[in-house]
Symmetry: C2
Subunit: 542 residues, 2 copies
């Protein structure tokens, strides 16, 4: 294969454009790879266990995947699902599927078989790439309409996926994209209430969000990105495209194993990774944890880092970037970067400032916090309102669900359902994820505020606070706490600690100790705690 | 002024969008400042001599400029010209003018009065911001239709510009932008042949090019950008917007004085600057030159860095990024980044690889090299063809000049007029700027190839090669050489040096020693040399 084949620029031009326009090309994150194959052709692009290969090869393999899918009958807009770990094939799917003109549906590999079946059915997937280890998930399903391609993730020529690539052409496929607002992927929400919804990302949104991530994470050509965040989660916050846009290196990681994480951080010179605080905790509490020679940037989402976590991370030379968002906003849409002038502050105070969700990503509109009539709430750091978003980092709607889309988009803004206060400087600070607010005696109690207070206790590793039923007050806060290994604290001590720092009505009445239930991406599952507590309450009152 | 005023998000929303669309905002580089005013509100954004102020203040001043212009009668699309140095007002014009809905026409402050007059006339400018020191340029002009605002560039309240700001509202102005493909600025070409042409940039192009510059330069929130490149030149390659997009710091510099450059590099912790090789030479040959503790990234355009320059820059801890482009491509559109694996090569070989112009910017289409029938030339590193470009980093056309636009855009691509070879790996290498090619006995001689050979001579600081008339061969190469201070080399020595390295027909017949004529941005003016030589020839043959 010559380069002319790999990166054809004449005739059936691979880069899409409206007919006759010289100064406009539709934004398409696939073009980041097209370019990297030229500009960083021989650079190691992908490290996946024993496999290491260049941007030229990543491009070649992605074009083969695209051409193979077309040969197998893919038509424009057909859904191509994946059930894959963070691996080379998963990365290739993020380029090969849109290069073919398909729509990527990356399914959470930790779902149960019926959940996988629902998503395949609802998305109308025509193709499925499945890792051999995940095949049991699809065995019980009737998949007659789906072409299944099995990935053993070896270079073995007997591997079905490898054979699929080998049999296909490596010529860069001509783009079928006509408008950058077409759908590039559908990401199903975790669906803790009701069925999961299919969040649609556009080519334009994915492209712009990827460039924003470059800026927010501070990545450049010499960055090495570790794949702790699953690519099935919001397309890995668009990092498959972001890392490729700068020509940095992808280090795949099939499972977040702290031992392996430390090994790879040291051996591969990792500079960036993303994860929820629980992932961070797992990493910093591992016996192999040690101070890093070069700073490593860790983007943390889902919950603000506690002072303890922050201090420990700084000690190890991790640089924290706190971000916030939802599946509907391509992952993060706000960031609270650590400011130069905060360096001089004590850790507790820094943690407090860093706990804010901040303001919009470079390519997003500024977020607002509004009351029920869509009016801006006062920027007084006290009044609570709903966070609403708009612009290039918001999904184009829920797939095949006009009612849910209309509801989420009412009054021309996306409604996050999350509650926040607005600071005088325009930054927002989350008080609760929609249904997590605790209403006690008519007062709103922010579960996050209580959690942050408890996490400031030196013995506490992490905690979750929910409202439990109360005859008189309606609800009262209860805290579920995990202590640092070797540390001890009684329920009374922790409650007293809270009463010194919070209005008394906000302090928990009860504390339970032990590990917290978590989602596959490391988020605490408050609904599990809530269901258990409320079921008990129903039992007791029955 | 409260933040709510500075960054209104409700009602007359400052961020433009098509009616009713939740997931699309028109791309507008002004929004980078809107965001920085929130996310990096207190950070020092601008250093201009004794003045230092924050992103909040840069935003406030830019909104005042915008509101002032509207109050003074600006209508959407009106041209606002500037005759300013690299200064705080010049930066504010890059945000305030588009925020007002005007079109920025940043005029080269080194032009002669009639040239300034031509541009004001041709662009139909309704407003002009002029630095007090440049007022003599406009004194001879009849500017009855132009509102002139004089900047003394002091914080003095008597300053006309400062008074203009003080009198205006600081509320973020509602955007009038309806389509991101509207014109944000017109940049007049240097016009070495005929009258200058007005190159139109779009909001979309400026936004995307700015993000590309972030990636190519490797800037992040802790970068400090030194304004050596004039902002009147291709809007400073979109760096006013790029630096602001990452929340980095602008350090203004009214004139490129090497003494001052070194002072600022040391005092302000500069991390990035851009300049032609002659600017680089001026900096590295200054007595204050010394090895830097942290690496400083120097983007170099207009001509590839010579091995001597490269070695010296590496010695001082400058990291070189070689880029290439034209006014019509928002400044640079290709980049040849130094590859990791080149580190081990000797300087001469590294210089040779780095001398290539590379391939497209992240937001640009891949460039092609074609023959006269628009077919790709062979990627054999030998055949020469014309470099053509297309996509988001190409101008939307020449202002009020349909014929020139149609000619530049023939066959659906922008024609650079520059000649290059195409390497097997898909990277391009310039052989000549259009009219610089030397045709001798029917053979094409690349003036750049000869220049690079001569520059490899240890005594040579810089050189320019042109074709001079020859009775028998039509043209023959002549070299104009500047030697390093203290170094010596004879014409015969340099010719012999060339004959060891080049086909003999390519070697210069004559060498002239002395300084080279340059443009205001440090580019060698070959046309000056050519005019002189050809005039002499005409005299001789007359």
């Amino acid at each position: 294969m010559t380069d002319a084949q790999l990166i054809a620029t004449e005739g059936a031009s691979p880069q899409n454009r409206r007919a006759g326009e010289v100064f406009r090309t539709e934004l398409n994150p696939v073009d980041f790879l097209r370019r990297a194959a030229y500009v960083y052709s021989e650079k190691v692009a992908v490290v996946d266990g024993e496999r290491r290969y260049s941007y030229r090869r990543l491009a070649e393999r992605s074009w083969r995947l695209a051409n193979g899918l077309r040969s197998a009958g893919l038509r424009k807009g057909d859904r191509v699902a994946t059930l894959l770990f963070n691996s080379a094939p998963m990365l290739e799917a993020h380029f090969g599927v849109p290069a073919a003109g398909g729509v990527l549906v990356a399914i959470n590999s930790r779902l149960a078989s019926p959940e996988v079946g629902y998503i395949l059915e609802h998305s109308g997937a025509r193709f499925l790439l499945v890792d051999a280890a995940l095949e049991p998930l699809i065995t019980p399903l009737a998949l007659s309409a789906v072409t299944v391609i099995r990935c053993a993730s070896t270079s073995d020529s007997e591997d079905e996926y490898e054979r699929f690539l080998t049999d296909a052409s490596s010529v860069a496929p001509a783009s079928w994209l006509e408008d950058e607002e077409e759908t590039i992927s559908i990401n199903y929400t975790s669906g803790t209430t009701g069925q999961p919804k299919g969040v649609q990302y556009t080519y334009r949104g994915a492209y712009l969000n990827a460039l924003s991530e470059v800026i927010v994470a501070g990545m450049s050509h010499d960055s090495v990105y570790l794949w702790t965040l699953p690519m099935f989660h919001c397309n890995g916050w668009c990092f498959p495209w972001a890392v490729t846009a700068v020509g940095a290196r992808h280090v795949a990681l099939r499972a977040v194993d702290a031992d392996l994480v430390w090994q790879v951080i040291d051996q591969e010179g990792v500079t960036h990774y993303n994860g929820a605080p629980t992932v961070q905790l797992m990493i910093i509490n591992h016996p192999k944890a040690h101070r890093l020679e070069r700073p490593v940037t860790a983007m943390v989402a889902a919950a603000p880092p506690s002072p303890t976590l922050l201090a420990r991370l700084a000690e190890l030379n991790f640089r924290i970037v706190h971000v916030y968002g939802l599946t509907e906003t391509y992952g993060p849409i706000t960031v609270c970067p650590a400011q130069e002038e905060w360096q001089r502050l004590p850790t507790g105070q820094r943690a407090k400032l860093l706990a804010r969700q901040g303001q919009a990503y470079p390519s997003a509109d500024l977020v607002r916090v509004v009351d029920e009539d869509m009016h801006d709430i006062p920027q007084d750091a006290e009044t609570m309102g709903e966070v609403i978003m708009r612009g290039n980092n918001v999904m184009s709607g829920y797939f095949a669900d006009e009612a849910a889309t209309a509801k989420a988009f009412r009054a021309g803004w996306f409604h996050s359902g999350d509650l926040a206060v607005w600071h005088p400087d325009g930054n927002i600070e989350l008080r609760d994820r929609g249904k997590d607010i605790i209403i006690s005696g008519g007062e709103n109690i922010s579960s996050i505020e209580v959690e942050q207070t408890i996490c400031a206790h030196p013995a506490v590793l992490e905690c979750a606070v929910i409202g439990i039923p109360h005859e008189h007050w309606g609800e009262r806060p209860k805290a579920f706490v995990t202590l640092n290994s070797g540390a001890s604290a009684s329920a009374d001590e922790i409650i007293a600690f809270c009463r010194e720092r919070l209005a008394h009505y906000k302090c928990p009445d009860a504390i339970a100790f032990g590990p917290l239930p978590k989602t596959s991406t490391g988020k605490v599952q408050k609904f599990v705690l809530r269901e258990r507590e409320w079921a008990n309450a129903r039992l007791e009152s029955a």
